[in-house]
C-alpha cells in the first residue's frame, strides 16, 4: 500500500546573502546566510498528494526547487523511487530519472516562452526525452495533450499571450504531462487565478491523478485549497517542518501551536459568525531566527525550554509542549 515514491531526508539549503567581499572587509562584516530550508524530512507515497503550507518566506518554493533539481541542497538527500538524486548522478541516469518528474510554476505566463507557439512549448519535453519521436508523432501527441487539458489541437498555433490566465495554466499542465511523468511538483498553481478558473484547474489535476496515478507535491498558502487536494500535509515555519500529518487529522485535530494559529486565521466564508483570531506578531527575520523553537516569540505555550532548545520531531510534530503533554487536554477531538 504505502509505496514511497519520494523520500526527503534532512534536507537543508542556505543562501549566501553577504555583502560583496570588499564591503565586508571595509565594514568589518561577517558572512551572512539565510537558512531557507533547515533539516526537513518527509516522504510522499505513490499516487498521493503531499501539500506544503506555511507563511510567505517559510521555504516552500525552495523545497520545490530542490526536489526538481533547480537548486542543490546544502545538506541532506532526496530519494526518488529508492534512488538518490544526489550530486553524483551521471548524465544519462540523471536524465532518465528527471523525465519522470516535472514542475508547474506559480505564474504560467512567466514559465511559458512568449515567443514560442503553444505546440513548440508542449513539444519541448518530447524533444528532450523522446528523441526517437518523429515530427508527425510529436504533433499528434501535442494535439492529444491539448485535448486532455480541455483545449483544442487548433490552439497549438497560438502564442501564450492569446490565452486567459486559466488557459495558460492548462498549457503549463499539458507541457508538464508531455513526457509522461509520474510525479509533478506544483508551486501555487492556482494562486493567480480567480475561484471559477481555480475550480477548473483543481478538478483537472485530480482527474489526471486518478487516470495516470500521478503523485503531486502541492504548494499553496490557501488552506481551503490544500484541504481539497492533499492526502498528507507538511506545515513549514521558517524553513523547518512544524508538523506533518494526514490532511484530515491536521484539519480536525491540529497539534502544533503554529498549525492551530494558521487554521484559526482562515476566513469564515460560511458566515457562522466565528471570529477570526488575530494572529500575534510577525514572522521573524530568517537572517536571525529566534533561538530554540523559532516560533516561541509568537507561541502562547512557550516556556523557558522553548527559548533555548530546538524541539525534536516526534510523531510528526516538533513541539516541546506537545512532547511534554502540556497540550494534550486541548487536543481532545
Amino acid at each position: 500500500m504505502s509505496d514511497v515514491l519520494l523520500d526527503v531526508r534532512n534536507l537543508s539549503r542556505r543562501f549566501d546573502v553577504s555583502k560583496p567581499w570588499l564591503n565586508r572587509k571595509l565594514e568589518g562584516l561577517e558572512k551572512l546566510y539565510v537558512k531557507a530550508v533547515d533539516d526537513v524530512s518527509f516522504t510522499v507515497n505513490r499516487g498521493e498528494t503531499f501539500a506544503l503550507v506555511g507563511e510567505s518566506g517559510s521555504g516552500k518554493s525552495t523545497i520545490a526547487k530542490l526536489i526538481v533539481g533547480l537548486l542543490k541542497p546544502t545538506q541532506g538527500e532526496i530519494f526518488f523511487s529508492g534512488q538518490s538524486l544526489a550530486r553524483g548522478l551521471s548524465g544519462a541516469e540523471a536524465r532518465r530519472l528527471r523525465r519522470r518528474f516535472q514542475m508547474i510554476f506559480q505564474d504560467p505566463l512567466a514559465s511559458l516562452n512568449p515567443r514560442w507557439r503553444v505546440t513548440d512549448i508542449i513539444a519541448e519535453p518530447l524533444r528532450v526525452f523522446e528523441r526517437s519521436m518523429d515530427d508527425r508523432a510529436r504533433r499528434l501527441r501535442v494535439g492529444e495533450l491539448l485535448t486532455l487539458v480541455g483545449l483544442s489541437p487548433e490552439d497549438g498555433v497560438k502564442f501564450p499571450h492569446q490565452f486567459s490566465g486559466g488557459q495558460r495554466q492548462r498549457i503549463a499542465i499539458a507541457r508538464a504531462l508531455a513526457a509522461k511523468p509520474e510525479f509533478i511538483v506544483c508551486d501555487e498553481p492556482t494562486s493567480a487565478l480567480d475561484v471559477s478558473v481555480q475550480a477548473q484547474i483543481l478538478n483537472l489535476m485530480k482527474d489526471l491523478q486518478k487516470e495516470f496515478g500521478l503523485t503531486y507535491v502541492f504548494i499553496s498558502h490557501n488552506l481551503q485549497v490544500v484541504r481539497h487536494m492533499a492526502d498528507h500535509i507538511g506545515v513549514l515555519y521558517l524553513g523547518r517542518l512544524a508538523e506533518v500529518a494526514p490532511a484530515r487529522d491536521l484539519f480536525e485535530a491540529p497539534r502544533h501551536p503554529y498549525t492551530r494559529m494558521l487554521l484559526d486565521a482562515v476566513p469564515d466564508i460560511e458566515m457562522t459568525g466565528r471570529r477570526r483570531k488575530k494572529v500575534e506578531g510577525e514572522i521573524p527575520s530568517p537572517l536571525s531566527p529566534p533561538p530554540g523553537c523559532a516560533f516561541h516569540p509568537r507561541c502562547p505555550f512557550a516556556n523557558d525550554r522553548c527559548k533555548t532548545e530546538v524541539p525534536r520531531t516526534l510523531g510528526g510534530v516538533a513541539c516541546h509542549a506537545v512532547e511534554e503533554g502540556r497540550l494534550s487536554d486541548l487536543v481532545q477531538p
Binding site: 507563511e55 471559477s196 488552506l223 484541504r227 484539519f251 476566513p267 510577525e282
Partner: protein, 326 residues
C-alpha cells in the same frame, strides 16, 4: 435617510481600439453609505479595477468615461479638472493598490513618505505630522512603530509593507477608501490583521470602503454588501450574507459553488463551464448565457438589466424579472 457617501450612476468606460470600441465597464450604478464596506467580486477581467480607477479618475487614455456620473457626498467628481481631482485623491479618497512595493519609494524612509503625504494634505508642522505618522503605524498594527518608522521599505516584511500602504491611504482621513486586492499577496495570518484595521476605520470615522478582491472569504468577513461583476456589468448586488447564502444570479451561484471549503470533503469542485467572453465578443442578450445552466430563449436575445429582486437586492437576470417568472 442619510446621503450616500459615494454614488455611481450609469458609469460606462470605453476603450477605442482599431477594431472598434470596447466597453470595459457598462452601466454601473451603486451607492456606498458612510461607514459601509462594499465588496466587489468577479472573474478576472470583469471590470473591477476599472470601476475603482474610474472613481478616482485614473483611467488610462485612450480609455474614457463615456457615460454616467460619480458623486462624492453629493458633489460630482467625474468631470473635474485634473488638478482638482488630484487634490481629492489622497485627501478625500484614499487608494490601496495590490502591490505594496509599487506604492512605496524604496529610496525613502517610511517616515519621510508618511510625513510628506500628511503634510501635502493637512496643514501640520513637521513634528505634528511625524507624531501622527507614528500613531497611524501603530493603528495598522506595526509593533514598535516609533522605532521602526525610520526604516526603509525593504527592512519590512511583505505584510508590514502592505500595512504601511494602508497607513498611507488613511493618513489624510479620507471619506472613501478604494482597496484593490489589498490582501491577495498576504497569507491568511496577516490578512486577518489588515481586515481588522480596515473595519475599525469604518467604524471609527464613518469612512466608506470599496473592497475589490476575488477572495470571497475576505468579503464575507469584511463587507456589508457585495456587488458581483460579470463582463463589465453588475450581475447581482445585495447584503453579503444573503448573496453568499442564497445567491440569485446563476453566475453568483456558480462562483460560490467553486470555492473549496474547509468543512466539506468533496471529490470535485463545482465548476462553471467555459470562460468569460473577451470584451470584443460579448454575446448578445445576457452576457452569461453561453455558460448559464438556466438559460432560456429570452436570454439569448435580450439583455437583462439590474432590477429589484427584493428589498436591498438587485439581480440582472431574466429569472427574476416579474414578467417572465413562470
Amino acid at each position: 435617510m442619510t446621503e450616500p457617501l459615494l454614488s455611481v450612476r450609469g458609469l460606462t468606460v470605453e476603450f477605442p481600439t482599431r477594431h472598434g470600441i470596447l466597453t470595459a465597464v457598462e452601466d454601473i450604478t451603486l451607492d456606498i453609505m458612510p461607514g459601509e464596506v462594499l465588496g466587489m467580486v468577479g472573474e478576472s477581467g470583469a471590470g473591477k479595477s476599472m470601476t475603482g480607477n474610474a472613481i478616482i479618475g485614473l483611467i488610462e487614455p485612450p480609455g474614457r468615461i463615456a457615460r454616467g456620473e460619480i458623486l462624492l457626498k453629493g458633489q460630482r467628481i467625474d468631470n473635474l479638472p485634473p488638478d482638482e481631482m488630484r487634490a481629492i485623491r489622497g485627501r478625500r479618497i484614499g487608494m490601496i493598490f495590490q502591490d505594496p512595493l509599487t506604492s512605496l519609494n524604496p529610496l525613502y524612509r517610511i517616515s519621510d513618505q508618511l510625513v510628506e503625504t500628511i503634510r501635502t494634505h493637512l496643514p501640520m508642522s513637521q513634528e505634528a505630522a511625524r507624531k501622527r505618522a507614528i500613531q497611524l503605524l501603530d493603528d495598522v498594527g506595526i509593533p514598535d512603530a516609533a522605532r521602526r518608522i525610520d526604516d526603509y521599505p525593504h527592512q519590512f516584511s511583505g505584510g508590514m509593507r502592505q500595512r504601511v500602504v494602508i497607513a498611507l491611504a488613511l493618513c489624510a482621513e479620507p471619506d472613501l477608501v478604494i482597496a484593490d486586492e489589498p490582501t491577495t499577496a498576504l497569507d491568511v495570518s496577516v490578512q486577518a490583521q489588515i481586515i481588522d484595521v480596515m473595519k475599525q476605520l469604518c467604524a471609527d470615522r464613518g469612512a466608506a470602503i470599496l473592497l475589490v478582491t476575488h477572495d470571497m472569504g475576505v468579503i464575507a468577513e469584511t463587507a456589508n454588501r457585495v456587488a458581483v461583476m460579470y463582463a463589465g456589468r453588475i450581475a447581482e448586488i445585495g447584503p453579503v450574507r444573503e448573496v453568499i447564502k442564497d445567491a440569485r444570479h446563476p453566475y453568483t451561484a456558480g462562483l460560490m459553488g467553486a470555492i473549496p471549503r474547509l468543512g466539506e470533503n468533496l471529490d470535485r469542485l463545482q465548476q462553471i463551464p467555459g470562460a468569460m467572453p473577451r470584451l470584443s465578443s460579448i454575446p448578445q442578450g445576457c452576457a452569461f448565457n453561453p455558460r448559464c445552466p438556466k438559460v432560456f430563449d429570452r436570454c439569448r436575445s435580450h439583455r437583462p438589466s439590474l432590477s429589484q429582486a427584493e428589498v436591498g437586492r438587485q439581480v440582472a437576470c431574466w429569472l427574476y424579472d416579474g414578467v417572465t417568472e413562470a
